[in-house]
């Protein structure tokens, strides 16, 4: 197909050589995202750039808002208007968004936030890599909620997990974070975009009852309420206050317990369907590396190099970091002598791994504080010291 014709397609089927940022944007478009609200920030700006160019070609809308606070509120509103919506940012922007990510959790609003991580805290390292926003994506907003956070490690996966992020958002009605990092955002490699018919698209459930009887927050058996779109005749209610099934504020412990328990349980009880990991050479492993994001590429390099030297190392790569795969890690702890956790922060996933192993094996974090990813040799050196 000619390049010109491809410009106006939602799904640009074919082989491309492109960056993680471009791939994530194409993934979002492929699954039907029609609204982007954002404020450009390094190292995520190419996502906004791609959406600004592509959305108008596809009948969608792009808004550059005055800041990240307006951006996140804008995409929540767009979602209630019935379109798949997203934003993209980096740590400083995500910090501004967390309050209204909480609003999205409470109003059960499907949308996607991409965070291309750079070094922090604060403005930190604008152009260089970090993985320091792990806990922020879990605990950033106040109150109890269970987020879904996905961590790609290749350009191909930036595309695929952008699709998956929208599908989780629509299926479970919540803001989902695609947590990338600068290395992935800016590196180029092959991206294969499949035929449009091969792309799984999940759409939010619509109400089946009549508009007069509709209760906007009455859940189905999977604990997720069907969602009406403003303008379709159904009552649409949104409030950050604790609300009953009608969507009316109802400020008492019983309603709070019922509602907040449900928005957590809709994820907790479906954890098995959500959690995804990649296992590499773990079958006979005596040592394991747990890794995620771009660093997992280095970790795989470590495994390959260690195996050549006869050291039995395997890799457990976290694709979803939230919900956290506690059970898988506890099982791994019974198998291996030690678990190594290389990450570009001062021990965020390491602490979760320590919690999950319940003392059954030793855990060692290998930390870089931002600006560069580990190389396979550095991680190998740590393992060789013990093997």
């Amino acid at each position: 197909m000619s390049k010109q014709k491809q410009e106006f397609l939602e799904v640009r089927t074919g082989e491309h050589f492109t960056t993680g940022n471009h791939a994530a944007a194409e993934g979002a478009l492929s699954v039907g995202c029609k609204f982007f609200g954002g404020y450009p920030i390094t190292p995520s700006s190419e996502i906004a750039e791609t959406m600004a160019l592509r959305l108008p070609q596809l009948g969608g809308n792009f808004v550059q808002f005055e800041d990240e606070i307006a951006s996140i509120v804008g995409i929540l509103g767009a979602s209630w208007g019935g379109v798949k919506s997203m934003t993209a940012t980096s740590g400083p922007g995500y910090s501004l968004m967390v309050e209204n990510i909480g609003l999205g959790m409470m109003t059960e609003t499907p949308c996607v936030i991409i965070n291309v991580q750079r070094g922090g805290p604060s403005t930190g390292l604008p152009t260089l890599v970090g993985q320091q926003d792990i806990m922020q994506t879990k605990w950033g907003a106040h109150g109890d909620f269970e987020p879904i956070v996905l961590c790609p490690n290749s350009v191909q996966e930036c595309f695929e997990l952008a699709i998956e992020a929208f599908n989780y958002a629509e299926k479970f009605r919540l803001p989902v974070t695609l947590l990338m990092d600068e290395v992935l955002g800016h590196m180029s490699e092959r991206l294969i975009i499949p035929d449009a018919s091969k792309i799984t698209k999940i759409e939010r459930k619509k109400p089946k009852d009549s508009p007069e009887n509709h209760l906007p927050y009455k859940p189905d058996e999977n604990l997720v309420p069907p969602m009406a779109v403003a303008g379709e005749g159904y009552r649409v209610m949104m409030t950050g206050l604790t609300h009953d099934e009608r969507g009316y504020p109802d400020l008492n412990p019983e309603t709070q317990d019922k509602q907040v328990r449900r928005i957590n349980d809709k994820i907790r009880l479906n954890k098995k369907d959500i959690i995804r990991v990649e296992e590499y050479m773990l079958d006979d492993a005596e040592y394991a590396i747990i890794s995620f994001g771009s660093v997992a590429r280095a970790a795989k390099g470590t495994v390959n190099r260690a195996r050549k030297k006869g050291i039995k190392v395997g890799l457990l790569r976290l694709i979803t970091i939230w919900p956290f795969p506690d059970e898988r890690i506890e099982a791994l702890a019974k198998q291996v002598k030690k678990i190594y956790v290389p990450e570009i922060n001062y021990g965020q996933i390491t602490r979760e791994v320590e919690r999950s192993v319940h003392g059954k094996t030793e855990v060692k974090g290998i930390f870089k504080l931002g600006g560069a990813i580990h190389n396979p040799q550095e991680i190998l050196k740590e393992i060789e010291g013990d093997a």
Partner: protein, 182 residues
């Protein structure tokens, strides 16, 4: 073919990023069975500052996307040469823009050194902007089997703006044909 790491480096404005992108794209999309990853130095620099781009090429999956020990180092400025020559592995291969780089004892670890007056060649075609492509032709001719002439020509025709394609193809050809004197 096992893992090969190439770094192109010079100053902002020489088209260093384009060199990496063309090679990476040619390999990934046109060379059967090979993969490539391209990364670029990324910072607040602009025109005139140091610029570098790495391409890792391998048959099979590429685990670590960044360069660790350079098999090939292509230097188009003195600053870039000084900065990155320590990264060239013992027995690696060095390419230099001979009018812009002064070799010192660090170059001794290279198994082979290829020198080309890429900027002069480009100027003979009307603009020094073609120097990067002349250098690419030179690298292509002297690194047999890593990336092919045919793939590079196809990618250049696709990626370079139509009005510049012809001159760039000539620059590439001149680079291919140039014989280094050492």
């Amino acid at each position: 073919m096992s893992r090969v790491e190439i770094r192109f480096a010079g100053f902002g404005g020489q088209g260093i990023g384009l060199m990496g992108r063309l090679v990476g794209e040619a390999v990934s999309l046109l060379e059967e069975g090979k993969n490539s990853v391209m990364t670029q130095s990324y910072g607040p620099e602009s025109r005139g500052g140091a610029s570098s781009t790495d391409v890792v090429i391998e048959e099979g999956e590429i685990d670590y996307p960044k360069a660790t020990e350079l098999d090939y180092f292509v230097a188009l400025s003195e600053e870039a040469y000084q900065k990155y020559i320590p990264k060239l592995k013992e027995g690696g291969i060095l390419f230099v823009e001979e009018d812009l780089v002064t070799l010192d004892e660090n170059a001794k670890k290279a198994k082979k050194i290829f020198k080309i007056p890429a900027t002069k060649i480009a100027e003979s075609l009307g603009s020094r902007l073609y120097a990067n492509i002349a250098m690419l032709g030179f690298v292509c001719a002297n690194t047999k089997g890593i990336f092919s002439e045919e793939a590079m020509i196809t990618i250049m025709k696709e990626k370079i703006k139509a009005r510049f394609v012809e001159k760039n193809l000539i620059a590439f050809q001149k680079g291919m044909e140039y014989k280094s004197d050492s």
